[in-house]
């Protein structure tokens, strides 16, 4: 057997052992544990790359399923969300309980449970373990970080703990691949073993639960556990389900059971006290803790948690992350851009001119390019987010920023996703998974796209260079710089206002708590970091990528069709004329091609559409050209520059500092001869781009992260409306 579990072991029996097909007949083992116990590291060590992600239907909780080879046979491993209890008072915990009870239909009931326990924090970790001993499934306790107990002054006797719990306890160090073989054999034996005898905790409640189950004649595995939870967690998930299923008799039974407790405290308080009391007694027999000087993690916290030093360090870390994103992602993005340009020219050169060549070059390649171009930013930003999370710093950042974020109606965990969105909203939105409260998470997702991302910069740069004079203000400030700063502030204000409004209306609810563990600092495990990075990149490419690609192809067809024969004939005639004239200049040929492209675009579906909707955008001061360019930039804001380039006949390969494009924009006129790009109109256009959600990647990511079309549709309509109104206000007030 190999120790890492990364390579699938080869079938030994040759021809009669066909390739293994992982099916529902293979044993299913649920992996559970408190957050920050190294559960995911163990999952990765057991399953390697043999894993997939699934979404629990209806909620945004994901689980990972993988396969481990144990005793030569595949075992399905289910990585459940980290949880402190089985109370089911959050979606994560409810999913964990559902999976353990076999209520997730396509999975079935697990054959065994592996609970990961942090040996250096045994008491609190055993709370969950004692609850698991009651679910009528074989339990294996994986005592993680066992390599660090000595340094923490903890002597722990695993056998004594195993005797106390009535379940096997295997010391492991998942990050170092230690103890995996003994753990695997323990899992192998557990899947065929009998469930343990539950410890004598809350005996009155469990007795009442047993008699109520009998009374209701409920013959399902885990029934006693579920009724126990229903008695303990007043108004909780288990109670609701029990009442839904059995109605009045269950209600009467619950009331009787709670009354029998004869306690002034609620049952949950009784449970907590009794569990910790029992745990304390057991631990005293198998654990010996010597007082030790503060750990390096605690000493580090004195600096990182210091109000002044910690704040400075925080600003420094964030500045470094941003510097890295812009310094590393920029060149990579240019490189991808260049590569897709080269590929497009290669196709145009190799294929005969026509719809196919244009579809491949301007539709498919440009579409793929517009997906892949996001990858450098997403990967770099996500690498940092994962490192911050796995090192334990993310919890400190949330701690430090909680007060500030609460002012906007959010909590500390929203800070990093919002900050990430200044580079790109996509990793910011994907990063909202650290936010435990659903309403806060949605509010953050909807506020994040307002932050000025890097794709807005070229649009701002073009419009500022063309229409904002380079005058000095107050001697030292540059008006162009001030406008850019204003646009950043506008984005921040938009995001904060949106979050505040949502938290007061659609997402109103009790303030989420900040009862949160501050995990010890740890060196991130590189294998886990890279696996998660790979998983994020894959999710983006597969789920968001397909949407972005489809939108890019649709926009291409709008600009390409219909083809006008008259226009083509006219172009060929002029081209022939130019050629016949002898020494035709390259510049003249380009000029002719650009003019033809512009004429073609004018009669394309997009151009016609632009003209149709021109009245709609007239209050903003836009003519059909601007309207068409804005519509063409639906998949990605920065596309508006190439679209304007085509429309104004300077060619699609223009850039934001192209003097040709700037001149054409300045000279562009309405039918009545007045200038299109006046200062109020240009400012309005910038405000439009500050607010609108012209980004298929963001829309697709919101869809994927909220698991519904409702939120992305709302976000798009809301932001576009806001952009429209902002642009109209600028134009109308400015034009007075």
């Amino acid at each position: 057997m190999n120790d890492t579990g990364l390579q699938p072991s080869l079938p030994k029996r040759g021809a009669d052992a066909p390739q293994r097909v992982i099916s529902s007949r293979h044993p299913l083992v649920a992996l559970i544990g408190n957050p920050n116990t190294g559960k995911s590291t163990l999952f990765n060590a057991l399953t390697g790359l043999r894993q997939k992600i699934a979404n629990y239907p209806g909620v945004t909780v994901e689980w990972h399923q993988g396969t481990a080879i144990i005793d030569e046979r595949p075992v399905r491993i289910l990585d459940l969300p980290g949880t402190y209890t089985l109370t089911a008072n959050s979606p994560d915990e409810a999913v964990a309980v559902d999976a353990l009870l076999g209520r997730i239909t396509d999975l079935g009931r697990p054959d065994a449970v592996v609970v990961v326990v942090d040996g250096s924090n045994l008491k609190r970790n055993l709370f969950l373990v004692t609850q698991l001993l009651e679910i009528e499934l074989p339990v294996v306790v994986a005592l993680n970080m066992s390599d660090r107990l000595g340094a923490a002054g903890i002597e722990l006797d695993p056998e004594a703990l195993s005797d106390a719990l009535g379940a096997p306890v295997v010391p492991i160090a998942a990050a170092r691949n230690q103890g995996l073989d003994p753990l695997k054999s323990a899992i192998g034996s557990a899947v065929d073993a009998d469930p343990p005898t539950p410890p004598p905790i809350i005996p009155e409640i469990r007795d009442s639960a047993r008699s109520l189950v009998k009374e209701l004649d409920w013959r399902e595995p885990g029934a006693v556990f579920l009724v126990t939870r229903a008695i303990v967690d007043v108004g909780g998930d288990a109670e609701r389900r029990l009442l839904d299923r059995f109605g009045q008799p269950a209600q009467a039974g619950l009331a009787r059971a709670r009354q029998a407790l004869e306690s002034t405290e609620p049952p949950a308080a009784v449970e907590a006290r009794q569990r910790y009391q029992w745990i304390g007694e057991q631990i005293s027999h198998c654990q010996n803790v010597r007082p030790m000087p503060p750990t390096w993690s605690e000493r580090l916290d004195r600096v990182i948690g210091h109000p002044l030093a910690g704040t400075l360090l925080f600003v420094g870390v964030m500045a470094m992350v941003f510097q890295a994103v812009f310094a590393w992602a920029g060149p990579l993005m240019d490189w991808i851009d260049g590569l897709s340009g080269m590929a497009a020219s290669a196709v145009t050169g190799a294929l005969p001119e026509g719809a196919i060549a244009s579809l491949i070059a301007d539709g498919v390649i440009a579409g793929v390019g517009s997906v892949v171009i996001f990858l450098p930013q997403i990967l770099i930003l996500f690498l940092f987010i994962i490192l911050l999370e796995d090192s334990g710093y993310m919890a400190r950042a949330a701690f430090m920023m909680d007060r500030l974020m609460r002012w906007c109606g959010l909590s500390g965990q929203s800070f990093i996703p919002m900050l990430s969105s200044f580079a790109c909203a996509v990793p910011g939105i994907m990063g909202t998974r650290v936010i435990p409260n659903h309403r806060d998470r949605i509010a953050t997702i909807l506020a994040a796209p307002f932050m000025t991302c890097s794709a807005r910069l070229p649009v701002y740069a073009l419009l500022i260079a063309a229409f904002i004079p380079r005058t000095q203000v107050l001697g030292v400030l540059n008006l162009q710089g001030l406008v850019l700063l204003g646009l950043y502030l506008l984005g921040i204000a938009g995001g904060i206002t949106t979050a505040m409004l949502l938290k007061r209306t659609a997402l109103r609810g009790p303030t989420p708590t900040f009862v949160m563990e501050m995990p010890p600092y740890r060196l991130p495990n590189m294998r886990s970091v890279l696996l998660r990075l790979w998983e994020r990149a894959r999710l983006f490419l597969v789920r968001a990528g397909t949407v972005i690609f489809a939108v890019a192809v649709v926009i291409w067809s709008l600009t390409y069709f219909p083809r006008s024969d008259d226009l083509a004939a006219q172009f060929e005639a002029e081209q022939a004329q130019l050629a016949a004239g002898g020494d035709a200049q390259e510049a003249e040929r380009r000029e002719l091609e650009n003019r033809y492209s512009a004429a073609h675009l004018e009669q394309s579906w997009l151009g016609r559409f632009g003209k149709t909707v021109e009245p709609l955008f007239a209050p903003l001061g836009w003519d059909w050209r601007v309207s068409a360019a804005v519509i063409a930039s639906f998949p990605a804001r920065e596309v508006v520059i190439a679209a304007l380039g085509t429309i104004y006949a300077v060619g699609a390969d223009t850039s934001e500092d192209d003097p040709g494009l700037i001149t054409r924009l300045r000279n562009s006129r309405h039918d009545d001869g007045s200038r299109v790009f006046t200062l109020p109109m240009a400012l309005g256009l910038m405000v439009f781009y500050a607010f609108c959600l012209q980004c298929a990647a963001t829309v697709a990511t919101i869809w994927r992260e909220t698991n519904s079309w409702r939120w992305p549709l709302f976000a798009w309509s809301y932001m576009t409306t806001l952009g429209y109104l902002g642009a109209m206000l600028c134009f109308q007030v400015g034009s007075g």
Partner: protein, 78 residues
């Protein structure tokens, strides 16, 4: 029982948890996480601005907002 609450504990100070102001879901959650009557608790630090607070209880670090800590009654001596 004293009327001091956990929110009044200064950084560096220790106390013993003596009870809760009410038995709502938040109190139950904190009890499940080990903030139990009889347990020792220490204020490790507060965030810039004085809120939230970080405590050491049952051997690990737990952060609570001031409003949440105010639910927990404490006895002066740790």
């Amino acid at each position: 029982m004293s009327d001091r609450t956990l929110a009044e504990l200064k950084p560096g100070e220790r106390a013993t948890v003596s009870g809760y102001a009410n038995h709502g879901p938040l109190a139950q959650r904190m009890m499940q996480l080990g903030v139990l009557p009889g347990e020792h608790i220490e204020n490790l630090r507060c965030a810039p601005g004085g809120d939230p607070l970080e405590f050491k209880v049952m051997g690990y670090a737990l952060s609570l907002r001031k409003s949440e800590a105010a639910l927990v009654r404490i006895d002066a001596a740790g």
